[in-house]
């Protein structure tokens, strides 16, 4: 497979060519270049998928103040090109099960993409299980529902990635709150890390931070201050993170005992029909 550097260079070149064709008004050339461009982008996405899927657990959000340094900095800016991609990236960035609305908020503010509309995400969830059934090894990762810790049934809205550890895919009663707090932290960190990306990007993230921070307790009026908001979210998270983990871990054994499919997509809730009483 072509290297990521080679692919990125080719994509850049094709984009320039497309712009030139557009400027000339040469529609035929534009159509042809666009096809090449899309093929190259697909190829690049596969390389990314492969690389990201090999990182098996969700990465915690960068701690506030620590800008990514070293080799990461030289990577091209990654933007999702499909809804599926946007979902996986949001989940990995935040490191907790999120619902479609949260995924959409993150995708819009962080990557300025509009792929991950709630509807797209919901239908994605169905498609993924179908695709898994056809070929469990067909994709590098699958988008899965979080699994309720008690019933081991799929949670209604929260999503995870199949490559995560089992315990990270389980939903305890605390998890929705934990996920919200982690989303706040990821947003606060992103605002801090953002200055280089231009004022437009940062503004979107700040708006998201202000929105997310509003229901947090004891906040001063300057809601979009990432340091202050981060601190409040962090201190609440500290109060519940251990309990959340304990509850999720307690279900690990039961989850491991399920079939491969149910381990990823949850076991259907059994309805103990009242008709049995009449039988």
């Amino acid at each position: 497979m072509e290297s990521i550097e080679g692919l990125s260079a080719r994509i850049n070149q094709l984009q320039n060519e497309a712009n030139e064709a557009l400027a000339r008004g040469d529609v035929d050339a534009l159509t042809r270049i666009r096809e090449h461009l899309q093929a190259a982008e697909r190829q690049r996405n596969r390389v990314w998928e492969e690389a990201l899927a090999s990182a098996s657990s969700p990465s915690p959000p960068h701690s506030p103040g620590s800008r990514a340094e070293g080799p990461e900095e030289s990577l091209p800016v990654v933007t999702p090109t499909t809804a599926r991609d946007a979902v996986r990236m949001a989940l990995t960035d935040v490191g907790a099960p999120l619902d479609p609305k949260q995924i959409q908020l993150w995708g819009t503010a962080k990557y300025r993409t509009s792929f991950a509309t709630s509807r797209a995400v919901y239908s994605l969830r169905r498609d993924e299980q179908r695709a898994w059934r056809q070929n469990p090894d067909g994709r590098f990762f699958y988008i899965c529902p979080a699994i309720s810790h008690d019933t081991l049934a799929p949670a209604r809205a929260a999503l995870t990635v199949s490559t995560w550890d089992d315990e990270d895919r389980i939903l305890s009663p605390y998890t929705p709150r934990v996920a919200y707090l982690k989303l706040v932290l990821a947003t606060a960190a992103a605002v801090k890390e953002c200055p280089a990306a231009g004022p437009g990007d940062r503004r979107q993230l700040e708006v998201l931070l202000a929105k997310l921070a509003r229901p947090l307790p004891n906040l001063p009026p300057r809601l979009a201050d990432p340091a202050v908001v981060g601190e409040v979210a962090e201190s609440e998270l500290a109060l519940i993170a251990t309990a959340d983990e304990d509850i999720r871990r307690a279900s690990l054994e039961r989850l491991a005992a399920l079939s491969d499919e149910q381990r990823l997509f949850g076991q259907p809730l059994k309805v103990h029909s009242t008709s049995r009483r009449h039988a």
Partner: protein, 375 residues
């Protein structure tokens, strides 16, 4: 007859008409017309009365505009987004919910693949399981229950109600949360909106009290204050208040005591009677077999059949069809023809009665000119 059998009979009676889920508003409103058996039977059978009214040719304008409905849904999802973030924030303000008490459980529909009454029964069971865990003081028991289903006994039949949310923390009371989309402007709520909201909260509280009692717990564990969450001003930023529902609760209990019993309803529902979406005449005949008690108050109580029942009352020549002032003016004389005869009798009517009689004569003329009634 067992409850199951009566439920099956009610379902057969509904025929192919769409079903609707009862809610606190419909339960409270039906209690305002306690004498009407027709409404009770139709509601017990979950008949969509607005659909029925349309079939019968007397549709009633929707109680809520599509715009208001949409705003309501938007507001509820704003309150509940991000793991109930705003709901939790308001609970912290109103009932001093401790910071770590954020254990959430979603008891909404799609968890189990059932529909209709069966789904509600299943969800009521799931809610009871969650409540038992909560009341056992298990430190990990979810203390914010979304879309819990509780049940209320009305004259011996069970009505399942979906709550917006229930909240509780160890050692304290269980609170009913009501999410409403009417605005709080300068800390003021329109009393016209607040009154029904308080009454609906009381219905939810009563059904939660009954649910706890059936589980062998004290109904005292339910707070008689409900937490009301509304948008502040005109945007969708949530704010909250507590509503004291004690007075409404007393009123509701009195009304429930008066509600017709299941055995009475059973006796009134003719065997084999069914409604049919395809056949209006058949539908009307079936409805007419259920005794009603039309009052002008039917309109205020939001009964969707009000226009239909009123037109029937008018056809039958009852003064009640002409509204409260007319009915009150003529007291015990309840047939329009009798009133007209009085007007012809030579007894000098008062000024007010003259106007009324003139109106009646005019309407009667118009009505007959249009071909209504016997000449």
């Amino acid at each position: 007859m067992s409850t199951d059998e009566f439920e099956a009979r009610l379902e057969a009676f509904r025929g192919d008409l769409p079903a609707v889920r009862p809610n606190a508003r419909t339960v409270a409103a039906a209690l305002d017309t306690p004498d009407c058996r027709r409404r009770r039977i139709l509601e017990a059978a979950s008949v969509d009365k607005s659909e029925l009214a349309r079939h019968l040719g007397h549709p009633i304008p929707a109680a809520q505009s599509p715009f208001a409905l949409r705003r309501g849904n938007l507001f509820e999802s704003a309150v509940k987004e991000n793991g109930d973030a705003h709901l939790i924030a308001e609970l912290r303000k109103q009932i001093d919910l401790p910071i770590p008490a954020t254990r959430h459980k979603d008891l909404s529909s799609s968890r189990a693949r059932t529909k209709g009454l069966k789904e509600m029964k299943l969800r009521a069971k799931e809610t009871q399981a969650a409540l038992s865990l909560l009341l056992s003081e298990d430190p990990y028991a979810p203390n914010v229950l979304d879309h819990a289903v509780t049940s209320l006994e009305v004259g011996g039949s069970t009505v399942y109600l979906e709550q917006d949310a229930l909240a509780h923390y160890t050692g304290n009371k269980l609170y009913v949360v009501e999410i409403k989309s009417f605005p709080v402007i300068n800390n003021q709520v329109d009393p016209v909106k607040l009154r029904p909201a308080t009454r609906q909260a009381a219905v939810y509280i009563l059904s939660l009290q009954q649910t706890l009692a059936r589980m062998g717990h004290s109904p005292e564990k339910v707070a008689t204050d409900a937490v009301l969450i509304c948008p502040r001003n005109y945007d969708l930023t949530p704010t909250s208040a507590t509503l004291d529902t004690r007075q409404e609760l007393r009123g509701l209990r009195r009304q429930l005591d008066r509600a017709a019993s299941v055995s009475e309803l059973e006796a009134l529902l003719p065997q084999g009677l069914t409604l049919s979406a395809a056949d209006t005449e058949h539908c009307a005949e079936a409805v007419e077999q259920l005794p009603n008690a039309y009052r002008p108050a039917c309109l205020d109580s939001g009964c969707e059949l009000a226009y239909y029942c009123r037109s029937r009352a008018r056809d039958a020549g009852e003064t009640v069809a002409l509204g409260t002032p007319v009915r009150q003016a003529f007291g015990p004389v309840d047939m329009i023809d009798d009133v007209l005869a009085m007007a012809d009798s030579g007894i000098a009517p008062s000024r007010y009665e003259q106007d009324l009689a003139a109106d009646l004569i005019h309407m009667q003329k118009l009505y007959r000119a249009a071909g209504g009634g016997a000449a």
